[in-house]
């Protein structure tokens, strides 16, 4: 990787003594992607929540453009440019779509020298939301809420976007549309994208490479390899959905990640 935006070094995290994330390291640069794939309870959410400051890590470091953000509070991490689209979308109910988007601007406004207001660009990306600016967020469909959750985070001009299970509860066509949006955000907006999913299928088109999360450890899967059988076996071992359209992948680098 040429320049790294988000770097995670030997991260260990968990809850009252139990290790959920065990020595995880990776890094992503601008416009790059990382898929975190694992079954229920593998620790995907815990990994993302640790990066965004909601879970305090036991050890390890998290760097944003070389700056240590490990111990910052979640709101400061967001204002530094790491935005998290939480599992289950969690749009603010009782607030309109427009107000939801407005909450997103707070993170961006804090960073001096950021580019222009992303409002129009975000609504161009999600024209659906433009039609519904005054609707109460909680009355929207699941797919629309997912779009809103992503758009809300984009309003904060993220350099790193963490997305937790964007496909949850959505119809296949909608999953595809969300995936396209996320890819656009990564490729055209230059955002570093970390997407957690249970099924490798769903992240396949969004991010460049995947990693598997097995029992709290990341195992890297390079794209472009050839040993498909090994890849499938690794997915199965991790309890993840077996990708049906995955590109050929090479064997896992054994044991530790990176």
């Amino acid at each position: 990787m040429s320049e790294s935006l988000l770097t995670v070094e030997s991260l260990v995290a968990g809850y009252h003594g139990s290790r959920v994330i065990d020595d995880v390291s990776f890094s992503v640069g601008p416009g790059e992607g990382l898929g975190v794939v694992g079954a229920n309870g593998a620790g995907k959410s815990t990994l993302l929540r640790t990066i965004s400051g909601l879970v305090a890590p036991a050890s390890g470091r998290i760097l944003l453009e070389g700056r240590d953000i490990t111990r910052l509070s979640p709101d400061r991490i967001a204002r530094a440019g790491v935005l998290h689209v939480p599992e289950g979308r969690r749009v603010f109910s009782g607030l309109t779509v427009h107000e939801n988007l407005r909450t997103g601007t707070i993170a961006g406004a804090a960073r001096a020298g950021s580019s222009a207001d992303p409002y129009d660009a975000v609504l161009d990306l999600f024209p659906r939301l433009r039609e519904r600016l005054n609707q109460q967020a909680q009355t929207m469909s699941g797919g629309e809420q997912q779009m809103l959750a992503i758009a809300r985070a984009l309003m904060g001009r993220p350099s790193v976007l963490l997305v937790d299970e964007p496909a949850m509860g959505l119809a296949p066509v909608v999953v595809k549309r969300v995936a396209e949006h996320l890819r656009t955000i990564r490729e055209h907006w230059g955002v570093a994208l970390v997407v957690a999913e249970q099924s490798a299928n769903n992240v396949d088109g969004i991010v460049g490479g995947h990693q598997l999360l097995v029992d709290g450890r990341l195992r890297e899967v390079d794209s472009g390899g050839s040993d498909r059988a090994n890849l499938l076996a690794a997915y199965r071992a991790a309890g993840a959905d077996v990708p049906t359209t995955a590109r050929s992948g090479r064997a896992l680098t054994d044991g530790k990640n990176e």
Partner: protein
């Protein structure tokens, strides 16, 4: 008629106090039972500044409001913020502890004799056969104006929207970069300022005493529950409703039972709509 108008005037003050509590309770979810003490502190300080320092009433009111804001912020950061992860009833207990200490100190300083700040608006005018003192009208107008301004602040400014977001889902609000500590400070400062305005203006019209705090908090709670909706503006109607119900109860049962009427009214509302009396609360479910 006379009683009714008196009720309306009282009601707008209740509403003003309740609007402050809505901000504090709605946004940071602290059951701030010491809110009424802010009103008392402001009323007493205003009275003291005017009578002892011989300040003009407006400056005296400023002293009162400043004292109230200082008191609110002190409790916010000395008591509630360190306890933000404790269960709700623990916060409730601490706010009651603050009530006990504040009230004891206030009685020690100011005794418990009711007092009025001199130099308020005098004179009166007539509507039909009712005689309305100008001071009542001023009281009602200031209360309504301050509530309106606060409502605009919450609905129009980004800080206001971020407070609504915090009320709806504090964790996600943090993930959006909303500064939690700062919003606590804003909620307590603005909320206590409203209580402060209420206390200082009220003290120029009616006598205030060092022991009124908890009763004031109860009235504010009643208003919030009557208003039913978390929006600051609706509180105005809740307050007027309470003022009028009190006035009517006072004429129907001259020999007592006023409190019962008000509390019963509130109970009926509570039991009929048990979930989410604040719109803010409902947003969470």
């Amino acid at each position: 008629m006379q009683e009714l108008l008196n009720g309306v005037a009282q009601g707008t003050v209740y509403a003003l106090i309740a609007a402050g509590l809505v901000l504090i309770f709605g946004v940071v979810r602290v059951p701030h039972f010491a809110h009424g003490e802010s009103v008392m502190v402001s009323g007493m300080m205003t009275c003291w500044a005017v009578t002892s320092l011989h300040l003009p009433v407006l400056l005296g009111a400023a002293v009162g409001v400043a004292a109230s804001v200082g008191y609110g912020l002190f409790l916010c950061f000395a008591v509630y913020w360190p306890m933000r992860n404790h269960p709700e009833w623990n916060l409730l207990a601490s706010s009651l502890g603050a009530v006990v200490i504040t009230q004891t100190a206030a009685i020690a300083i100011w005794t418990s004799t009711p007092r009025v700040t001199p130099g308020g608006v005098s004179g009166s005018f007539e509507i039909g056969d009712a005689i309305i003192p100008w001071s009542w009208a001023v009281l009602a107008a200031i209360s309504a104006a301050v509530i309106g301004a606060t409502a605009l602040l919450v609905s129009r400014t980004t800080a206001g929207v971020s407070m609504k977001a915090m009320a709806a889902d504090a964790e996600t609000a943090q993930l959006m970069g909303i500064p939690v500590r700062k919003n606590w400070a804003i909620a307590f400062a603005v909320g206590s300022a409203l209580a402060g305005v209420a206390g200082s203006v009220y003290s120029t019209v009616f006598p205030v005493s060092t022991t009124l705090g908890l009763d004031v908090t109860f009235s504010a709670l009643v208003v919030i529950i009557l208003a039913g909706i978390g929006s600051v503006a609706h509180v105005l109607w809740g307050g007027v409703l309470l003022g009028v119900v009190e006035a009517v109860a006072g004429t129907v049962f001259p020999g007592g039972y006023q409190d019962s009427m008000v509390f019963l009214f509130m109970l009926v509302v509570l039991v009929a709509r048990p979930n989410g009396l604040f719109g803010l609360e409902r947003a969470r479910d």
